[in-house]
Symmetry: C2
Subunit: 340 residues, 2 copies
DNA sequence: AGCAAATTTGCATTCGAATGCAAATCTTAT
DNA sequence: ATAAGATTTGCATTCGAATGCAAATTTGCT
């Protein structure tokens, strides 16, 4: 009989109150940290709660408090190993802070609209976007007073809450490293033009090459994915002046380039050509690649994103902030002396 | 003035009702598919809703309907490329079905308990577990009438809703393939013992080898991760009888083994040793690996999981079901003739 | 037009927890 | 023991949408 009651439908704060012989408000208070409850009361209530397997209903709580404790995370579903690493980091850290992650994978533009609607419907307390977001979409969220933290992107002409990885110093080190190996002829594999991460990385690479000497003898564009690097690498290597070092806008393409060179074109890396990437994803450390790259401190970036989000949620009117962490140069074995 | 009203606080169904000059119930009905509303009414309401930027509050709706439209997905956060692929597939498909994904990453046993509590608090409509779940935890969810679908695991002695990938046929083909290449001496790199996927894969491998001839001359155990394969591979290759083919319990370890052989031990693959794995993850197709493997039809498995979940949610008392899809043998270039 | 049947609409209540305020209880000091 | 103050408790209301039921309206038919 009792078992039935227990399992037939879930216990509410009223059930607990009745069993403990107190009011519903008392039960509510016992589950609210920092509320004023006497020791005796707390014991009675907790005993009853345990007996009935009671846990406060987050939905009802969300309705009255207007805090869902849900954070929407938008990630691109493109099979780039960078996103899963970021996602898992964010999720772990949000959990620790008592926030749940509502996941939205973005395949195409239209998915963003949809995600934003859901965010609104579910009263998500905030949005972390590690995916493309237009100014209009960003503004829409702002208008609705939903804190947004952009992960690895921001708007140049608009204040935004963002986490960014500065690679300027590391890029200089990387180019220095290549120059020290005697490289003068560089080939670039760019990422998609809409990606500001790509634009910024390429800008810094060009700038560093200009400062430290050397020429960009060939360029090609990929889409950040492994597969896209094959054609780009072909293009570079068919250039009238062949590059001795290939700089890819991310590790996935660097891996694709390296594979194309070694396994398809029969070149040795770094013997014939050196290859570098950006991101420092886990797979870049695999022995077949051991990429020289610039690592983003993903853990610290995620931590910063989570902290920033918590701040915005607590104090919504805090002014916008851009937190910039620095990437670091990682020397692998995909770079070596230029052959003459 | 109007703008302020709009942005100061979100519009509710009452606001829409007032503006449209109808009752709140009418507004509610307009947003419920299949409700009885006249055309005129719908137009009036929709116009007002658009004007006020109204979207029904999913939290309030969830409270009264007792359906949150949230599905909890539990995935191991271990950096195995298999999980992200599964996760993104599931999320995409749930979104299409109007269900949101509440993501829980599981690092350690204790995280599961926590996730289950959150599931209960958020009234998740169901749980997909692609992570370890004890019988007790499973039972707890059952008792609470929360549908659970196990992804790639089930309990032998307990009926469960599960999606499973049968690799028996493909394993036979794989061993046949190796036997045809003249391999007789096999080395196994097992996954963790608690993993039933591992146990089953290894059981079928042993069975196939027994049936088709050949010997298992060495065994070692890894933890499914890339890094763990290095030591395991060393162990196998130091065995008194050296294996000519290495069978790893998943692709990540196969990749680790292949790298250890080629890049650390200086062996050629498949020249000196052949290597095979399981899963058919994207990275296994990279040119540096091109693993011979057994692919799980992840897309179809995710689809099946989502369908099963929908069924359980609609009709909770539907009897348990185990849906089994078959894996397929994929021939890569990591296998070749045995050298004598 | 007139009446029955079918459809549409509104009223009032409900879901479960949180909280401002007043009432009740407990402390403490004299 | 008593008054003043501090703490604890309960009452009643609130959040926003859904829904059973009855009232109002529309439709169809003669």
């Amino acid at each position: 009989m009792e078992d039935q009651t227990k399992s037939r439908s879930r216990a509410t704060s009223y059930d607990v109150a009745r069993l403990a012989g107190v009011s519903q408000s008392a039960v509510s208070r016992c589950f609210k940290p920092g509320a004023s409850v006497s020791k005796k009361m707390r014991e009675k209530v907790m005993a009853a709660a345990t007996e009935l397997n009671y846990q406060p209903n987050a939905i009802a709580r969300g309705l009255i408090t207007r805090r869902s404790n849900l954070v929407a995370v938008l990630v691109s579903s493109q099979m780039n190993f960078y996103y899963p690493e970021v996602l898992f980091q964010l999720t772990d850290r949000f959990s620790q802070q008592g926030l749940r992650v509502l996941l939205f994978t973005i395949n195409e533009e239209a998915d963003v609209e949809d995600a934003i609607n859901q965010v609104w419907q579910y009263q998500a307390d905030g949005v972390i976007s590690a995916s493309y977001l237009s100014i209009e979409q960003h503004t829409l969220l702002q208008d609705r007073h939903i804190p947004v933290v952009m992960f690895n992107r921001y708007f140049a002409d608009l204040p935004t809450n963002s986490i960014w990885c500065d690679t300027e110093g590391a890029t200089d080190v990387m180019i220095r490293h290549l120059r020290d190996f005697g490289h003068k002829k560089f080939g670039l594999i760019e990422g998609p033009d809409y990606s500001m991460v790509n634009r910024e990385r390429m800008r810094l690479v060009r700038q560093a090459i200009k400062m430290q000497g050397g020429n960009i003898v060939a360029e090609a564009r990929g889409n950040y994915r492994y597969e896209s690097a094959a054609a780009a690498t072909q293009t570079l290597m068919e250039s009238s002046v062949r590059p001795s070092a290939i700089i890819a806008a991310n590790d996935m393409m660097a891996m694709g380039a390296l594979d194309e060179l070694k396994n398809v074109m029969g070149r040795s890396v770094p013997g014939d050509v050196s290859v570098v990437g950006f991101d420092g994803i886990g797979a870049a450390r695999f022995a077949s690649y051991e990429l020289t790259t610039i690592r983003q401190p993903i853990g610290r970036m995620a931590e910063a994103a989570v902290n920033m989000m918590l701040t915005r949620i607590e104090k919504p009117e805090t002014s916008m902030e851009k937190r910039v962490l620095t990437g670091s140069f990682i020397q692998g074995t995909s770079t070596g002396p230029a052959t003459t």
